[in-house]
Symmetry: C2
């Protein structure tokens, strides 16, 4: 299987994407891998596998690698005789946050007719924006954590039951997110969140809430991971986060009832629906009073949540043969020809 | 003002986009225009202004024009000495339907840092998909025409009050849309709609409903068009549609009360919000029992609805100086450097 791992991006999660890519190099052992780095300036570079070390990017050495230009059908190198197409195989979109999760990379690859594993445009936009995720989930009958939406130009004089959690509507990870324990902390937390977005969500912060992650994709049928009960920490510090994005060891199935497991899996399948076809995603659920609530969709989870699957590499291979294809639109100019003939060729 | 009109695309509305572009050539008289044609195969061509006639595209002559390659910062021609950047000015996205309205063109231009007039990615996805439009509008407190959603794999055995109108969830224009007057016509209409999409909306068809269009954009403040009462015809035939996309004559303000006009304009402003910044859109409203309901958002209306504005060309110029800019994300590799120092340079 030829897989090109696309990572980096103009994103707050640029560095963590590098960590994810290095991890997948270790995980996808049987595949023929290429590495496409998107630098902070959105230039593409073809990275030699032996250079897949984080320092190579941090110290700017990557700039010595070959630049790639994306055009119809392929990534190309620019040579003496014009652009030269590279056969890199199916692209695995591993850009976390902006560019990768907001629909841009999906658009670039779709437009240029390159096979890719990633949420498509709609799925990206709906999962990158936490408000749209809620509207989408509710329309499917999947319950969500209750929320208030606040725009940066609206009054902050609002009644809340503390503690609450403040989240910028966009951005992945925990960037700009704060837990607010009382009214006098609210203003500062909103200032922080509004630095990253013009809209924030305010949700009840549920101390010690039961939290479960379910990852999966659809190949011939759904392939679901184990259900994981993630480690509780109020926030990820940088080392914890590093561990999170570089995980490749297997984890244990959560000890939950068959009924709860089934509820979580049904909610996952509803969310995945048809719009997430072509992608491997992770949904994070809360369980409150026995009810499964969608917390968020991780459209490109750290190191693709490989550690939650029995046969991650086999699944990637099966998925790469089941990628959704855009409808072919045939343009025969019959409309213009009719108009021309009606107007005597004058338009 | 330098404006590059981008038109064509891999879209059912490819031909109508050519008509739109020819019309704007006539309308934007004082501007320095370039024309970028995206053919059905998604190759870009730089079209000489004198060749802006529909036959030039219908008979394939455009293939003799210079090809363009989009890369970071500019559209380029490929020459003996590599890629050569073209200074074409602000791109006006005039691709109707797929590619132009679904977020792809916005992504391409945003990613490559090219100034453009168009709905951005989120705004495109929310307006291209009629279901998401409804969820979005309802979340803003804007009323919509009531609807049922039907998936292609669901039972068609549904209770409906006829007549109804069947619409594929995506696609612009009237493609795949049918009015169904009784239960025995339903199956055929659904077959037609499901040829274009896996989801359809079923709405009550309201005979003789009052319909009003409002176009506008936000420059220093909102610039709103007159309110138009569109011509009623059950459906657009091809000549009617041609007239619609090639309009450049002014129309009359609808004869409605100041109160209704204000309700329509307030609904427009709510829908436009911040997410449509950078674009000129048209919202189509129904008025039922004095209530304003959003019917649909036209994110790239035919010939940009130029005929609804007093000073269309001036507005385009003002808008081109008020385009939203993505936040700059500075990547300093402090995270990787911290991890490296914590791990003794071993990652």
């Amino acid at each position: 299987m030829n897989i090109a791992i696309l990572f980096g991006g103009s994103s707050y999660e640029h560095e963590i994407s590098i960590v994810s890519a290095i991890t997948l190099k270790k995980v996808l052992k049987k595949s023929n891998l290429s590495f496409i780095f998107c630098d902070s300036n959105r230039e593409f570079y073809l990275i030699d596998s032996t250079n897949m070390k984080s320092n190579y990017f941090a110290d700017g050495s990557y700039r010595k690698a070959k630049k790639l230009i994306l055009k119809k059908g392929a990534f190309c190198t620019e040579g003496m005789l014009g652009l030269k197409e590279q056969s890199l195989g199916t692209v695995l979109n591993l850009i976390h946050g902006r560019d990768g999760e907001d629909g841009k990379v999906a658009s670039l690859l779709e437009f240029n007719d390159i096979a890719y594993i990633s949420p498509r445009i709609d799925a990206s936009v709906l999962s990158y924006n936490k408000l749209y995720t809620k509207l989408y989930a509710e329309s499917l009958g999947v319950k969500v954590v209750p929320y208030k939406l606040l725009n940066s130009n609206e009054s902050r004089d609002i009644e809340l039951e503390y503690p609450v959690i403040i989240k910028p509507v966009r951005l992945g990870s925990s960037i700009g997110v704060s837990i607010v324990k009382s009214a006098d902390e609210l203003d500062y937390a909103l200032d922080v969140a509004f630095e990253f977005d013009t809209q924030v969500l305010i949700e009840p912060f549920i101390e010690g809430v039961l939290e479960y992650n379910q990852a999966g994709c659809k190949t011939a049928d759904f392939e679901l991971s184990i259900v994981e009960e993630p480690n509780k920490e109020e926030f990820l510090d940088f080392e914890k986060k590093y561990l999170d994005f570089s995980r490749d060891g297997k984890v244990m199935d959560a000890e939950i009832s068959a009924e709860l497991k089934s509820d979580i899996q049904e909610a996952f399948k509803k969310v995945y629906g048809t719009i997430f076809e072509g992608s491997i995603i992770r949904c994070d659920f809360f369980v409150v009073d026995g009810e499964v609530l969608l917390n968020e969709i991780n459209p490109i989870p750290g190191s693709m949540a490989n550690y939650l699957f029995e046969d991650f590499e086999g699944m990637v291979k099966r998925l790469s043969t089941k990628l959704p294809k855009e409808a072919l639109i045939k343009i025969d100019y019959s409309y213009i020809n009719s108009i021309q003939s009606a107007k005597g060729g004058k338009v």
